[in-house]
């Protein structure tokens, strides 16, 4: 039995109390004395040359303090990109400048042109309407394939083309892969789109910049998943403010899902303008503005092929993908379709030869970057759709085809042909568990029941793998990352025994304040309520890399374990002194230090008090105090995996798909708080089902966003999803981090889209609509109906 507030217990979340009573403190709740407001005048055309910006009338408007244009930022750097991808010829990617305010050209609808700072938000907006813009509209490029055609308009005039990079992975395997296809008994291919999405955390982005001349210090309050990363990128590359003069605070943040990882122009603007205006500057995004300024996600077009031998063993996979970068490179954009996608193309299978080609393309659209799953959903969708299609074409059971090609439990660690080494896993176990929970054996009876009501029932299967716990710094450095990906923690024990933990892992819904306290409470044996978890403020926490890639517990938690172990080691020395014993004889259990084999003991607070009131203390050997910092840099990624089953009913009259049940059997390694893990999976499933059935970010040929608000971008609602069964009883602990954890934040969004689409195809085929080979996401009723009747 787990300690009631330790590892393995479903402890209720402590942060909920403030959120449920209206006492959360989100960035928009922060109002500083003398605060001013900025409104960004954004481009309403996708591509245009700026011939002139006349701000004179606007400057005379009531309340206007200053209007900024790119001319005010001549000394500032562009918004940097944090990852450099090298193309298949060994050349670095093309990397255009991303100015804070548009310079010379506008490159997407929403590109900020001018910024009006005024006494009130409405005054700033009123004045923005009075700015006289002279913009010569240019032909935009919106479609990725057309963007690479000869003579296509260029998004960036100073680049040779709209191609950011043409990446081959593993380039050396290409010939062998092609050879395998030549020898294959069966080749199955599929062309598909991974639809463009908008992350849509419910809290829109907010930034408040403040400047204090007393210490010549800048403070930025921002809706970020990683305040230290913002401090580094903005301070070092954009505004030239050294870290010791720059504080970045990310207070309560209302969800991120990737979109709040990146450093955005509005953050740099508010930080900079506060010093110019000599007053705080606040920006609060509207939802409409979020749609045209938050980085989007996904947006891949892929052709994938699978070669099988006569016994249906997978021989090789090759793919060709176009990945949309949008108009500028967002912070981690180049890494998503490459290192977070290509390296996962082995899936759960023993495919000896793989070649992945990715062409990253600039278009006149909002920048595209990581969104929950980031590259791994794209990989999983391709593989799991293709395996399903292969089973259908070969006339074999989709479960059996997967089982036949799964990496077997005894084959770990497993070196894939796409660079990574899976440490553990048991895919047969998760598949069996899912089928059991889904009552797959009785599906046919349920289908017959649906058929009586005129409905088509289908069951879809997907098995995913992801690489989480991002990431070993030396490895990602070789792959082009311009940052390390360790995490930090400080554990400060106070004199009376309470503990303050400072972590670089930011929590914006994941419940770190609860989970991390459980870990420390478990290790020391004290009440979790005596432990406070602090995050989100660069002024009190060592350099941390933040929260994304399902890394918080695997990497941030490991740093906390390390720092706590250091604390325990020192505390044992103090206890040894107090108990007049050797440190190696001291045991810590349930918050009490005792000498092995004796009844001599001292409790936790006795030791902590001695550390700060060192009257009886080994001062000659040990410093007073009890506070330790640790950094943890993982030696490998973690590899969560799982089997997902989706049961749907399809209305043949309208094409509408209803989710009936969704079974997730995940292997996340060890679990600290099962309640929180379940919640993470639920949320991921809703987003994955949203991608599969509802969500679609669409531009017209002029580069106008057609899905620019919740009137057209269909968010999953309470009546769109249901019937989740989540299991995490299949456990193969991670072999290389101290908690044996793998991460659970993205799994749901990675594994669910192919399960939903496979279920729809299954329903159609079982009902005789065998001509439908694939339907691109989202599977709207209109698309399903058209496919059925096509």
């Amino acid at each position: 039995m787990p300690k009631d507030d330790g590892i393995g217990a479903s402890v209720k979340r402590r942060e909920d109390t403030r959120f449920l009573t209206g006492n959360g403190r989100y960035t928009d709740d922060i109002n500083l004395r003398g605060q001013t407001y900025v409104h960004f005048l954004r481009s309403d055309v996708a591509h245009g040359k700026i011939n002139g910006i006349d701000t004179s009338a606007a400057e005379a408007m009531p309340g206007v303090l200053k209007i900024f244009t790119s001319a005010d930022f001549e000394s500032a750097g562009g918004i940097p990109c944090g990852w450099q991808v090298t193309d298949k010829h060994g050349q670095p990617m093309q990397e255009p400048k991303h100015p804070i305010l548009a310079e010379g050209k506008v490159r997407h609808v929403g590109d900020p042109i001018a910024a009006v700072v005024a006494e009130t938000y409405e005054q700033a907006r009123d004045a923005a309407e009075a700015i006289d813009l002279d913009i010569e509209e240019l032909e935009p490029v919106v479609d990725m394939v057309k963007a690479l055609e000869d003579g296509a308009p260029k998004v960036h005039d100073d680049l040779t083309s709209n191609l950011c990079y043409d990446w081959g992975f593993v380039e050396e395997n290409k010939d062998a892969v092609n050879e395998a296809f030549g020898k294959a008994a069966h080749v199955v291919s599929l062309e598909l789109t991974n639809n463009r999405l908008v992350a849509n955390p419910m809290e829109p982005r907010v930034a408040v910049g403040d400047y204090d001349p007393w210490g010549d210090t800048h403070t930025l309050y921002t809706t970020s998943q990683n305040p230290h990363v913002i401090r580094l990128l903005m301070g070092a590359f954009v505004l030239s403010i050294p870290e010791h003069k720059l504080r970045v605070v990310a207070p309560d943040v209302g969800g991120g899902f990737g979109s709040k990882i990146y450093h955005y122009a509005e953050e740099a603007f508010c930080t900079y303008a506060a010093k110019v205006i000599k007053r705080p500057v606040k920006w609060t995004s509207t939802r409409s503005e979020a749609f045209i300024s938050d980085a989007h996600g996904r947006d891949h077009k892929t052709k994938i092929e699978l070669a099988l031998d006569a016994d249906h063993n997978f021989m090789a996979i090759r793919t060709e993908t176009y990945a949309n970068m949008g108009a500028y490179l967002s912070t981690f954009a180049p890494s998503i379709p490459t290192w977070l996608h290509g390296t996962l193309m082995a899936g759960n299978y023993k495919t000896p030869l793989i070649y992945v080609n990715v062409k990253a393309v600039f278009t006149n659209t909002v920048p595209v970057d990581a969104y929950r799953g980031a590259g791994r959903p794209e990989a999983t969708f391709q593989i799991e759709r293709l395996v399903d299609k292969a089973a259908r074409e070969l006339g074999v059971d989709p479960v059996e085809l997967r089982r036949k090609n799964f990496i077997k439990p005894e084959e770990f660690p497993y070196q894939t042909p796409v660079a990574v080494v899976y440490d553990t896993g048991n895919y047969h176990a998760t598949m069996d568990k899912m089928l059991e929970l889904a009552d797959y054996a009785n599906f046919e009876a349920r289908r017959a029941e649906s058929a009586k009501n005129g409905k088509l029932r289908g069951f879809g299967i997907a098995h995913y793998i992801e690489a989480c716990g991002i990431a070993p710094s030396n490895l990602v450095g070789q792959l082009g990352a311009r940052a390390g990906l360790y995490e930090s923690a400080s554990v400060r024990v106070n004199a009376t025994g309470s503990i303050s933990v400072y972590t670089g892992s930011h929590s914006h819904g994941q419940g770190h304040e609860t989970t991390f306290a459980q870990v420390v409470a478990d290790m020391i044996g004290v009440d979790a309520n005596s432990i406070e978890i602090h995050h989100g403020d660069t002024s009190n926490t060592p350099m941390g890399m933040g929260t994304y890639g399902s890394r918080s517990l695997a990497v941030g938690g490991s740093a906390i374990v390390r720092a706590t172990n250091k604390v325990i080691d020192k505390a044992k020395k103090i206890a040894a002194h107090l108990l007049e014993a050797a440190p190696e004889d001291i045991e810590l259990k349930d918050g009490k230090f005792s000498v092995a084999g004796t009844d001599k003991s001292v409790d936790w607070s006795g030791v902590t008090l001695a550390a700060y009131v060192p009257h009886n203390y080994p001062l000659e050997d040990l410093e007073p105090g009890l506070e330790e910092t640790a950094f943890y840099d993982p030696s490998n990624f973690t590899y969560p995996s799982g089997a997902y089953g989706c049961e749907i009913e399809l209305d043949p009259e309208t094409g509408k798909i209803d989710i009936l049940r969704f079974i997730a059997a995940d292997d996340f390694g060890n679990i600290v708080n099962p309640m929180i893990v379940e919640g993470q999976v639920h949320g991921g499933l809703a987003q994955g089902i949203g991608q599969a059935l509802l969500e679609n970010c669409v531009y017209d040929e002029n580069g106008q966003l057609l899905s620019g608000s919740y009137m057209d971008y269909a968010m999953p609602r309470a009546d769109d999803v249901r019937g989740f069964t989540v299991d995490h009883s299949c456990v193969t602990p991670c072999t290389h981090n101290p908690l044996g954890v793998k991460g659970c934040g993205e799994a749901g969004a990675i594994g669910s889209p192919p399960a939903v689409v496979n279920a729809a195809i299954d329903a159609l085929h079982r009902a005789g609509h065998t001509h439908v080979k694939h339907i691109d996401m989202p599977l709207t009723p209109s698309r399903v109906w058209a496919a059925m009747n096509g």
Partner: protein, 262 residues
């Protein structure tokens, strides 16, 4: 949004006076108007709230007709019309979501004439009469294409009079983002014949499907329209559905409405 002067009269007469100013616009719940003002697509100088006028509130039975005050919320209609005219109550209960229904009003919805709004289907699908501050307008004359009505500048609806049908129902296929109708069909059966009004589908806004009315008038059975179709030409085509799909839904939703009404 741009600022404006806010006026809240307590009688129709005061509202008429307030709206006499050409720069004034009525506000009747504002569930569509306020978002459009936020987007600065609409910027009245004076906004005249009609929700404080007692004589424009409520649902009342007058013989064979149901009169609904123009400032009556969807939530109130869903509740109070249920025993008199369940088809109308059912439609009102499907508009937007509970919070929208608590503020949005029938008058506001009809006057706006959004091509995907639900209420226009009920008004056109009955032989309703729209009563304004100055005249009465027959439903067939009221809707004049998307976002366009017979209302003059400054004219506002005070109530809507619905002849209660023998049977009626509204079948709505949801546009999943906006919660408006991707296609919605209101069917009403009277002794004199059947009316079928379609919203959400046509580029011209709400319309009557004459062929279905004829077929259902002689045989009020879903199968009576099974072989009918509306042309895809002129139907809305967007992210959520092609014009062919909407044309198909017109028939499917008509059949569903008939089944639910029977």
């Amino acid at each position: 949004m741009h600022n404006f002067e806010f006026v809240k009269p307590s009688s129709v007469a005061d509202a008429v006076a307030a709206l006499a100013n050409g720069e004034a616009q009525p506000l009747s719940g504002g569930q569509t108007l306020i978002p459009s003002m936020k987007a600065r697509l609409n910027a009245p100088e004076v906004l005249v709230s009609l929700t404080g006028i007692a004589e424009m509130q409520g649902v009342s039975r007058d013989g064979g007709a149901l009169e609904v005050g123009a400032a009556t919320t969807h939530a109130t209609v869903a509740l109070e019309a249920a025993s008199h005219f369940p088809g109308l109550a059912g439609l009102a209960g499907q508009i937007g979501d509970p919070a929208v229904r608590a503020r949005g009003t029938i008058g506001g919805s009809i006057a706006n004439n959004d091509p995907s709004a639900c209420y226009p289907a009920a008004v056109l699908g009955t032989v309703a009469t729209i009563v304004t501050d100055r005249r009465e307008i027959a439903a067939d004359d009221f809707f004049q294409g998307m976002f366009t009505t017979a209302l003059d500048e400054g004219e506002f609806i005070t109530k809507v009079r619905f002849p209660i049908p023998e049977a009626s129902s509204y079948a709505k296929f949801l546009q999943p983002a906006s919660r408006f109708a991707l296609t919605g069909v209101f069917v009403a059966k009277y002794a004199s014949g059947v009316r079928v009004a379609v919203t959400g589908a046509s580029e011209d806004g709400v319309f009557r499907w004459a062929e279905a009315e004829a077929a259902l008038s002689s045989n009020f059975d879903a199968e009576a329209v099974a072989g009918l179709s509306v042309p895809a030409d002129g139907m809305i085509s967007d992210l959520h559905g092609t014009s062919e799909y909407r044309a198909h839904l017109v028939r499917v939703m008509t059949q569903r409405a008939v089944r639910a009404a029977s």
